[in-house]
Amino acid sequence: MSNEFGYIPESPEQSFGNNKGIFTPKDIYDLTRADKYTNYGQLELIETKTASADSQIIFDDIKQDIYNVHFLTVTNFSPSVNQRNLSVRFFENGVEEAGSVYQYAQQYVGSNGAVAEQKSTGAGALRTTNSVGDAVNRVGNGYSYFYNLGDSTKYSFQTYMNDTIDQTNVFYGIFGSGVLPQASVVDQIKLYVSSGTFDCSLSLYGIKEYS
């Protein structure tokens, strides 16, 4: 790759948000690869997956070496079995962590006035969407942020918010956080239900950072 970009007046220093000069297509290509070309749009889609009567969906190329923060959207989660969560497990260097090692804490608020805290220090999974009914139009939607998945020196964290409708037509809003308290590289994310199957759309994004 050339070290010279922009030729007015002569090869000025280039960085994101501070490009100067006139660029050839090759300059733009090389600068983009070097993360030095200003190109806005830092919420970058990694992959969208659609579940249709699946028991699990695995994102197996999450680009954890590029993104320190991931963003996951869950749209129209619909389980085949009543009151199922859409759960999350991480893979560490290709191996699924299925032990009772996850911690979470969440608050839910129901349209019937119910308010409760739920928590665990020995869960077998994290959550993205909670306890959705299996009748028609009972769906859950939500989002999660994941932090430090690719950092072998840090724990892997999650914050999330979602809404659900249960079998009796009570609407719930839920927000919470979770952690896999193990310093490791997480390279895959699994979404699954504990029994039956589910339908939904899942989109995983990376939030681009720069030095």
Partner: protein
């Protein structure tokens, strides 16, 4: 083609400090900003709280008793707690601990640059800390700085004399 997050600035902490200023990031280009705070860790072995204060249009940190906030604190062992305060000198953002914990926080800042409105914040964060058993702590909160003034940046700091030596703070504009 721009999408709805546009990178503005990133600051990385690589040595011991008790405060870091992220200045000249709020402009008239956006009304809403997205902040990402990751990888915080304390120098010592005792946890500390990290807080946020704004920087006004002259570059001065806003240290008056003009901040209100409220959040739900959700722990994986102890009972949840409602925390709320008025007329404080900061927004209470997060609890951090020693390595290898790290932490994650996202926050939205609303109307900072407008001189005719207050500056609002909402946030959600997660960390772990240890005072006995290792425990998850998450919070979901809201806050406001109650002065109609133009804000151009912010400061992240701690006051427990337990500095942090690792952190990454990134600021994005949310494209309207």
């Amino acid at each position: 083609m721009a999408t709805n997050l546009e990178f503005i600035k990133s600051v990385e902490v690589t040595s011991s400090t008790s405060s870091v200023d992220i200045d000249n990031v709020f402009t008239d280009k956006y009304d809403v900003y997205y902040l990402s705070l990751t990888n915080f860790q304390t120098v010592g072995t005792t946890q500390t709280r990290i807080r946020l204060r704004f920087i006004d249009s002259t570059g001065t940190v806003v240290t008056g008793s003009t901040y209100d906030y409220a959040y739900l604190q959700m722990d994986s062992i102890r009972a949840f707690a409602d925390i709320k305060n008025t007329n404080k000198t900061f927004l209470d953002y997060n609890l951090i601990d020693k390595a290898p914990t790290g932490a994650g926080l996202i926050s939205y800042i609303y109307n900072p640059y407008s001189a005719s409105s207050y500056t609002f914040s909402s946030w959600q964060n997660v960390s772990v800390w240890q005072a006995g058993a290792l425990e998850l702590r998450g919070t979901k909160g809201i806050g406001v700085e109650k002065t109609a003034q133009s804000i151009r940046g912010f400061q992240i700091y701690e006051t427990d004399t337990r500095p942090f030596d690792k952190a990454k703070i990134s600021v994005y504009g949310v494209k309207g």
